[in-house]
């Protein structure tokens, strides 16, 4: 199971994105500053936007799902229950996992951005997509919710998960690290070796490396253990 980006390029106005790489089964982190092209890469990888040049090939991937940064875009139900059902899921399970129990009959428009994001991620992470692309999954969430989402991502037991984010602290354990640098996708390799090549590594991880301590992974727990 793999997603292969071959000589991919995409131009919009002054911005140009180029990408080459193979996303194997496992959890991938694509890090980069705001405006570096992470979201554009997510759209191209999901097949929702066609690249100007190059090809995006999928092997063994039967279904894929792109979770956009703003959960409002995904909303097609009038009530919370309608919205969960529109994903083909059971409301009871998703409401409980999203900590929205008892709010199934609420209108989705009364949910705050954070609650809507929780609901959306609850639906997305309850699915069984072979390729799951999460664009800024931690936006609009507080630290506690970020931790919950990290745990849910680490519990994904099959397929390829690509996380495009500029989050620096609350990150799940990952298998591969990539960077977007000036519109170009750069592979740092497999974790833990990739952590040493990770140019955009968060300050607390860089401090550890400078002290000669390389964490086994990038999650807060792994970093704490190394420290």
């Amino acid at each position: 199971m793999a997603l292969i980006l071959e000589s991919v390029s995409y131009t919009r106005g002054q911005f140009r994105l180029t990408a080459n790489g193979i996303f194997e089964e496992g959890v991938h982190l694509v890090s980069g500053i705001v405006g570096s092209g992470k979201s554009t890469l997510a759209f191209i990888a999901s097949g929702m936007v066609l690249p100007g040049e190059g090809s995006v090939t999928r092997t063994g991937i039967m279904n894929s799902l792109l979770s956009m940064q703003f959960p409002e875009y995904h909303t097609t139900g009038i009530t919370v229950n309608d919205e969960i059902r529109s994903w083909g899921l059971d409301p009871g399970t998703v409401l409980a996992s999203s900590r929205l129990s008892g709010r199934g009959d609420d209108d989705v428009t009364v949910l705050s951005r954070g609650e809507l994001k929780r609901l959306h991620l609850g639906c997305v992470l309850s699915g069984d997509a072979d390729l799951l692309i999460l664009d800024e999954p931690f936006s609009a969430l507080d630290c506690r919710e970020k931790r919950v989402i990290c745990r849910k991502i680490s519990e994904q037991d099959h397929g390829t998960v690509i996380i495009c984010t500029h989050e620096q602290t609350w990150l799940p354990p990952v298998d591969f690290i990539w960077e977007m640098k000036g519109g170009t996708l750069v592979s740092c390799g497999r974790v833990p070796e990739a952590i040493l090549r990770w140019g955009l590594a968060p300050r607390h991880i860089r401090d550890l490396i400078e002290r000669g301590l390389v964490p086994g992974n990038i999650s807060p727990e792994a970093v704490m253990e190394a420290a």
């Binding site: 929702m48 792109l66 703003f70 097609t76 428009t109």
Partner: protein
Amino acid sequence: MKDPRIRIFVIIALSVAAFISLAGAALAFLYWICLPGRFQCIKRPAAILFFFMIVVVSVITGFTTGHGLSYFVRMTVILLLALYAYTAYVPGEFFRVSVWLFGKRGFDPGLIAEMSMEALNDLEEDSSKIRIALRQKGVQLGFSTLVPVIGMFVLNQIRRAYDQADLLTVRGYRNGGTLCPEFQPGIMDYFSGIVAICILFIAIFPVRDIFILLH
């Protein structure tokens, strides 16, 4: 056309020319053909929607007044010009032109115009993202999905309006302000403007009228 003042003038002049006569519409269409990026602007999904609306109104006009074809030609040219104006727009242009035209009084109308253009861009962006989301769910846009989708469009705009209001307040905006717009028109800008004036003149005063006067 680099100078937004001349571009806006050209669009208005050609639209008026296309509206008042078929000859003006034909000349405005020829002008549009010569514009850079003309075909890029008609690829927008909204273009098809507006074109469809023109066709419907033209058919109704044709049946009721007999001038359906004339209406269709004139309005299609105006639509092409409007699409070009929207595509060629660079953020901040309306602000600068408004202040240049009306002085300090033009600050607030310019700001409103810029916010409106930004809102249009946001709507276009929202619409493409929502289409992607619907495609992923395998949901067709029907009555049952139309209500929440439109609701989200409206809510998104209200949220953005709140955010913009907060931002303006934080920056100390009450009303009015100062802006020193600068423009660098090129020789082609002047040439484009003169051609547009000629087309408007021909549309208002048909050529045969001028020869009659000379005779």
